[in-house]
Amino acid sequence: MSAFSAIGEETEKDQNEFTPGLEPQPTWCPGCGDFGVLKALKGAAAELGLSPDEMMVMTGIGCSGKLNSYFNSYGFHTIHGRSLPIARAAKLANPGLTVVAAGGDGDGYGIGGNHFMHTARENHDITYIVFNNEIFGLTKGQTSPTSPKGHKSKTQPHGSAKTPLRPLSLSLNAGASYIARTAAVNPNQAKEIIVEAIEHDGFSHVDFLTQCPTWNKDARQYVPYIDINESDDYEFDNTNRAEASEMMFETENALHEGTVLTGRYYVESDRPSYQQEKKQIGEMPEEPLAERYFDDSYEWERSYDKFLDKHK
């Protein structure tokens, strides 16, 4: 019998079950795109029939870091940029958990960029939602890695000389196996994409455009948006790496020209996840490691029997 009975429990869930009683009203600014992520995640969790006790939501620091304060599940609000390595290990320790990590564009593409790249490369079976508002919000409006070139702020008084980072292209090249972009103003698509991302076996990356009405007033509200999978103007095969790459490049350029493109950019469904690869080579046990510590019949091996002979 599992010591973690919430995992895989068959339940009918209402999305309100993911609203915590203690602080149901988030402190995000009125009109903030972050509300859209929270709503989409609650909707997706309910649609997937997940229970709050089998979900682990990891966040970093920033406005996005508050996601798990307002989402009722196991949560780990970590430190700036470090949600992914903690999330990866929790999934390795107990693969039955549904692990969702979230952060902002500064958190995920800036300070945590190295972890993002390697988590994508390794194709861990977790979902990563990046609240991309093209600015640092919590620290009051500094230029971020995705801010457009020329962006003026208190830390870039003459406008940023830096070309913005290309989150989708970076993700593809690093090795993510599901890559999508959605926007807070597009709640149905956002929910559907998060459902797909959680169901995907491998690293799923959702670049979530979240408008910041307080510190990024000049920026677009990400409307109107175009769904590239629906629109007849954008023909491409999102299982084809080359076509996906081209579409991403176009999308990243278009955003700074005022056209908001969203949708599923890359879906690689036949690539084994990291956990599967690791089991394949004999470096990860079949049974969840976390269960072993509750198994009274398990016989723990000791160094005296296993290793000492070679030192004699």
Partner: protein, 631 residues
Amino acid sequence: MTDHELIWRIAGGSGDGIASTSQNFAKALMRAGLHVFTHRHYPSRIRGGHTYTEVRVSADPIQSRGDGYNFLLALGDSFARNPSEGAYYGNEEIKPLSENLDELAEGGVIVYDSGLLDASEIENFDERVEENNWHVYDIDLRSMAREHGREVMRNTAGVAVTCAIADIEPDVIKSLMSDAMPDKILEPNLEVFDDAYETVQSEYDVDTPDVSAPTGEHDEEQVLISGSDAIAYAAIDEGCRFISGYPMTPWTEVFVIMSQNLPELGGISEQVEDEIAAAALAMGASHAGVKAMSGSSGGGFSLMSEPLGLAEITETPLVLVEAMRAGPSTGMPTKPEQSDMEHVLYTSQGDSHRIVFAPGTAAEAYDQTRKAFQIAYEYQIPSIVLYDQKLGGELSNVPASVFDEEPNADLGSVLSEAELEEAPHDDSGKYQRYQHDTENGVSPRSLPGQKGGRYLATGNEHMPAGHISEDPDNRIAQMNRRMQKVESIREELDEDGEFNTVYGPEDADYGLVTFGSQQGTVEEAAAELNEKGHSVKVLGVSELMPFPKEQVKSFLDSVDEALVVEMTASAQFRGLVQKELGGYGDKMSSLLKYNGNPFEPLDIVEGFETALLEGEALPDNRTKFVPKVGE
């Protein structure tokens, strides 16, 4: 070094098999009933560069590399570069012979491979030999090895010559070779061994040198173990089945031992992108209910500062090991030092609350690493095992029975789902994992996936169920409870009373105080001082945090004066004692060493007699004396 000891130094080039040859030599003599202790000296270089390993052999228990040495086996450096003397590295080819003469004892033996080394290149070699009464054997080991197949077997030939001169029974070595070498290479190696042994016996005078291996007997079975082995085995015996890391000398040894063994034990090893991730992964696994560890050396440990603080405030059990090397920054990667002590005690923002053990021997490394795991999981706190390149890499014989302990995979303060049903929850149904008032400061945790256990772990200050809060009363309650855990651990350690080591006569006039890996060396120095008529005892401290105030205080109160011995340049450990005890600066002088080599017992004897007692300057800059406050 006593008259009855052999201290054998095998010198050559990095990459020439010096380490494995010396390891086999040490193990063979251990099997023959002797006590052995090794010391490795190697450069931070990819290939080549002068390297040596010393094997000290004694009939009695030994705890350090000893002083100097009396038998040199100088092999060639087959990867030597820049043979011109004007080059940066100097004449590297001759170094295995030329670099090792200063520390060779009078009457000592030199065996060198005349196939690769030419003693005439060394200035005044013959004069020095005569002056020091050294016995020189120039033997073409390389040609001997070539005749039987491969040049690399000159190491075996050199060991055979050692046996012939130092009266070591050939079978002692040969039976170990049979165990250690694959069949394919065993036969030619045995042939080289016999050839070299017989040639030297018949063609050279092997009886004149007064240097020979003692004979002895162990009263129980021994194993040849390094500090790194002991740390890894302790982790495995505590049910640690997850390690994450990034390679860095000298911590890599522990990482490698774990990575090679965990898959077979159904565990997981993760080599990750950097040390921030390494510590974060260990936390993630631990948070989800798997006993986990990570580790690094100085620079890598700097990157762990962030996750370390997160583990403190989220009360996530986390075991880290830190293998010190000479700093600052990249410093001297392959040389030991103890100067990361303050870094490890205090790094990360806020008031640190963590456990730090600094074991003195391989056996202590095993016991204290096990205790580190037990405390980490019981008290939900980071535990750090602080050691160094010296303890990690040196091999010594330890009774096998030290490791004959039951495994313990207990997760510590974790509730089961049944217990969670009875536990307090807030209005959202979240488990109050951080309750204010608990008996010893510990509030039991739940694990993700457990029904009824959900809560928020956060690096912000938080309410009982994890909700972020800056309420002053809650802040004080949570901070006090976390700090209370450290007090509870102090009480538990006082009850155990096992980890700090006192040595020497109780009523001694003088005290030597040290921490971590210098302990054995300091004890040997004290024995020597007492033999010379001084009155000295030793306190070796392993519990750095929480600090054993009472024990250290009563030790210092019991002596007239103390000499604090440590491998730092700024007397960090003496500073810690003063900080913790609020005084004693006028009672403690320091003897420091930071030239890249660990203390030898005579360094301490000299520091005590010359600097502390006589108030005179030390003859050279190998060690530094810092007088007590007010002098």
